[in-house]
Amino acid sequence: MTSLFLTALAALIVVILLSAPLGCFVVWRRMAYFGDTLAHAGLLGASLALMANLPVALAASVLGIFIAILLLLLSKRNWVGQDSILGILSHGSLAIGLLLAWVMPTQLDLDALLFGDLLAVSLGDLLLLAPLTIAIGLILWRFWQPLLAITVDRDLACAEGLPVKRLEVLLVSLLAITVAVGIQAVGVLLMTALLITPAATARIWSRTPEQMLLLALTFGLLAGLAGMAGSWWWALPVGPSVVVAALIGFIGSAAIKRKA
């Protein structure tokens, strides 16, 4: 039980380490719905992976990157608003995923995909997650300044010689991989919450992007620990506990800031 619990805790921490920095970009670039769309597409990725007998994280990552780039291209057109395009792709891919799951001979664990099943994470999964996290962390470290610059002002970054389009593809790809990997451990619903809530809480207290990054990591890890503690002592489900802990942090921060 203890080792199962520790593996789950480690997996959660790994997902938070990825989702905190990318969550900051999601908040800054107003991509919350974008992240949600990627999470829903992850369900389709999982269905496809089971059909083709591929690792779920790999299939979901590839599909996520594909959808992310499709979104980047479609966002340049003005037929309908970006939110509508996101809604169409989000629920479209969710529905295809559900249909595939329906016709598939093997059972897809929908509950696990939607709400996460941290305790099902194996040591093998974790050994796969760790190097991936380090790789994404290093990429973020290396490209932090340019990614920040294209987020502050796209035209200014372009004028200063940054390859803006390639950096945007890099950013949405990292986000897609993070979401794909994350939903396996924490589920579609918790993934979106982990992206947005700690970063939004951090915004309340920060004056520079780097402060916001560190605080998002802190709030994310605190929520993760609180959720795991709830699961350990009161046998609460992990996913909702983490989300509620993060929510309390956000509401508390907003209330304190309002008073101050």
Binding site: V27, R29, Q145, P146, D155, A159, E160, S206, T208, Q211
Partner: protein, 241 residues
């Protein structure tokens, strides 16, 4: 030496023609100001020069060693992104804090170092943006309405600073401006556009040009010719005496 050259450049947004047949060249240590009515394509020309837009016809050439400092009209930053002026100055280029502070001091806004970029007034933001463009030590300075929101007395001081920067950095300056009065006094050449080039040349020639007069009206056109620095006192960018 030619820094930037446009050859019969055209740009379309979908089926709408924004600018056509734009040809001009800009030399080092030259200040070229683009003027024209709203929607004339002034900002489009700047964006083409910066590589933000690609020409749909024609050719744009930049000297190989070009290093651009760009001052946008405003900043597209989202309020959810916390950013102090100091951090913004050091964003995406290696500038020491000392150099960043000196650049801000020259535009009279060093005291805003710890302020949030989103909290600045229009004029303060313009000064920060100019400082950030200058601190990169560019040899092509591109300015989109550099004194917008700056009070009347600060305007002349900012234009004075722009021509100082041109001398120090030996850079070419391409700018868009609405302040016809100061433009004529501080530019080497003027490009008057309205979708196409109406007239192009030295401020004196342009202000006599019939197309220019018809574009801006006779009174405006006459006002330009007479503007000179007629201050009998000194003042800094902040407008203090």
């Amino acid at each position: 030496m030619t820094r930037l050259q446009f050859e019969h450049v055209q740009h379309r947004f979908g089926s709408a023609l924004a600018v056509q047949d734009i040809s001009f060249s800009l030399n080092n240590e030259e200040i070229l100001t683009i003027i024209g009515p709203n929607g004339a394509g002034k900002s489009t020309i700047l964006r083409l020069a910066l590589g933000i837009y690609q020409p749909t016809a024609g050719r744009i050439q930049l000297a190989a060693d070009t290093h651009i400092g760009y001052m946008p009209q405003k900043l597209a930053i989202d309020p959810t992104l916390p950013l102090t002026v100091g951090r913004f100055m050091q964003l995406n280029h290696k500038v020491s804090q000392k150099d960043a502070r000196i650049a801000l001091a020259r535009t009279e806004v060093e005291h805003l170092w710890r302020d949030s970029v989103q909290d600045l007034s229009g004029g303060e933001l313009q000064r920060v943006l100019l400082a950030r463009a200058a601190v990169r030590k560019p040899n092509l300075l591109v300015l989109d309405e550099p004194v917008q929101g700056v009070d009347y007395r600060g305007e002349a001081a900012l234009y004075e600073l722009i021509s100082q920067l041109r001398d120090e950095l030996k850079s070419a300056v391409l700018m868009v401006s609405h302040d016809l009065h100061v433009v004529m006094a501080s530019s080497d050449n003027v490009l008057c556009v309205n979708g196409h080039i109406c007239c192009h040349g030295h401020p004196d020639q342009v202000s006599d040009h019939p197309e220019y007069v018809s574009l801006f009206g006779k009174r405006e056109a006459q006002a330009l010719g007479v503007y000179v620095h007629d201050h009998d006192h000194d003042h800094d960018c902040g407008g203090q005496h």
